[in-house]
Symmetry: C2
Subunit: 276 residues, 2 copies
């Protein structure tokens, strides 16, 4: 009888996902959180922060393509993009596909996340050395507060709203984002699961709506995230994601294409009601 | 310290979902399978067959609305519908919303599933006593084989393709379905997760395609099903779900509406590639 090692993440106090583990590749306490890299049978390598799945080799493509390409293709030609969080580099990888992009600033609080990504997830971290990319190890809230009419797109690729990330889901941060964006800029943020985090989504959506002239909400299926259905909230000063203005269509995607762009904005009735 | 009872379903040999349980309400061995009803904190009551989640109070609406309303609204006015499996009654409940329906035959092999649904899931089983509904305790494969140009729609609301359900995923069954349908009839079947069951989906889709003049594939998010992303395969003799002909729009839905009907047919790129 072979020993079986299983890792279980309690996604809420009452439900969890459990994965059979080949081996623990890395585990450490950083200045901010517990970081672990496990190799699993179902999803390949997975990156955990404080015991919560951040990315897996098997399904990171969905989250990273969708958090990036929906806002990027909404804008006619984004040049400057700021990513808050996203230390694994997957969001940066997708942004770097655009020839219009001149500058990407990755604002990650925890340098050890970037180190772990470079070492254990080279296929995710592969664009962190792109000459257009600057990595800034700083607190995202303070960093964004320092900017004025600076960028075309701000992507909040954060952890769950606990601990240091909690301010990333609040109105003062969205006001700083608004100020940091150019006059036709776009905000997009990951905003958890409509099945498990209804209250958070309702709050975040109304906060974004109170700060931006237009707000939007879209969905994607990420098996290793709680409930498997993940949401993104967008605040826009000018462009409407339902009428994307980008002329460049990202290549080598496995989830996103223009049809999915539009269908991701069409919401199940219970999600529509959540946002009303 | 309170005792914590958790139920874990291994959805594949390498990944599972685990739920905190209030109590075990029912557990028995039927002639066909092990049946259990658990009351859980996250999803309310859940129905398990051979340890696999069939329906939960929290998310059954997604599956039942989507397996029914997409084909029902594709057809201009379905009158006679046969459901294979579906002993919990959720599929019948959604079919009974249509005034055009004159006859619904539920072909369930296991009478004890229907009994458990009536007792523990009255909100799912609520239309089983509708005068248009006939329950037939029989093997679905044999039953369908006996029909000729009989019905407008056949819905295969089966368990996973193991044990007695395995024949429901094979070509001879789809040929019987074709014969059992009227000249403009539609087949729809639940066909598992594109993330975890790619090979099965590829096979089933090509089998349905080989039997029906047109085949289609659509998706919905069901948190308690493996990967959270569930698929449905449709075979159609005449109507195209992308141009639904139904004039009746089902009310009191929580997932389905005409926008979702269309968007559910727009597939992520990796799913499109799976079907090619």
């Amino acid at each position: 009888m072979e020993m079986e090692l299983w890792y279980t993440e309690k996604q809420t106090p009452n439900v969890g996902i459990t994965c059979k583990v080949k081996e623990t590749l890395w585990r450490c306490q950083t200045d901010y959180q517990e970081l672990a890299v496990l190799d699993t049978f179902q999803f390949g390598r997975i990156l955990l922060l404080d015991g919560m799945v951040q990315a897996t080799a098997a399904d990171e493509f969905v989250y990273h393509e969708m958090i990036v390409h929906v806002p990027m293709c909404t804008h006619p030609a984004p040049k400057t993009v700021v990513v808050v969080g996203g230390g694994d580099g997957g969001t940066v990888r997708e942004i770097c596909k655009y020839p219009s992009v001149e500058k990407v600033i990755l604002v990650e609080i925890d340098a050890q996340v970037v180190e772990a990504a470079r070492k254990f997830f080279p296929e995710i971290a592969c664009s962190l050395d792109d000459p257009r990319v600057e990595i800034c190890y700083a607190d995202g809230i303070e960093y964004i507060r320092s900017l004025d009419s600076f960028c075309d797109l701000i992507i909040v690729d954060s952890t769950e709203p606990v601990g240091p990330a909690i301010g990333l889901f609040d109105t003062p941060f969205y006001q700083s984002v608004f100020k940091a964006l150019k006059e036709d800029g776009i905000l997009v943020a990951q905003t958890e699961s409509p099945f498990f985090n209804a209250e958070l989504i309702r709050n975040v959506f109304s906060r974004v709506k109170s700060v931006f002239p237009s707000s939007y909400f879209y969905l994607a299926s990420v098996p290793t995230y709680p409930s498997g259905l993940w949401s993104f909230t967008m605040g826009s000063k000018k462009y409407d994601p339902q009428k994307p203005e980008g002329t460049f269509i990202p290549q080598n995607t496995r989830y996103y294409w223009p049809g999915i762009h539009k269908s991701s904005l069409i919401l199940p009735r219970f999600v529509q009601e959540l946002l009303e």
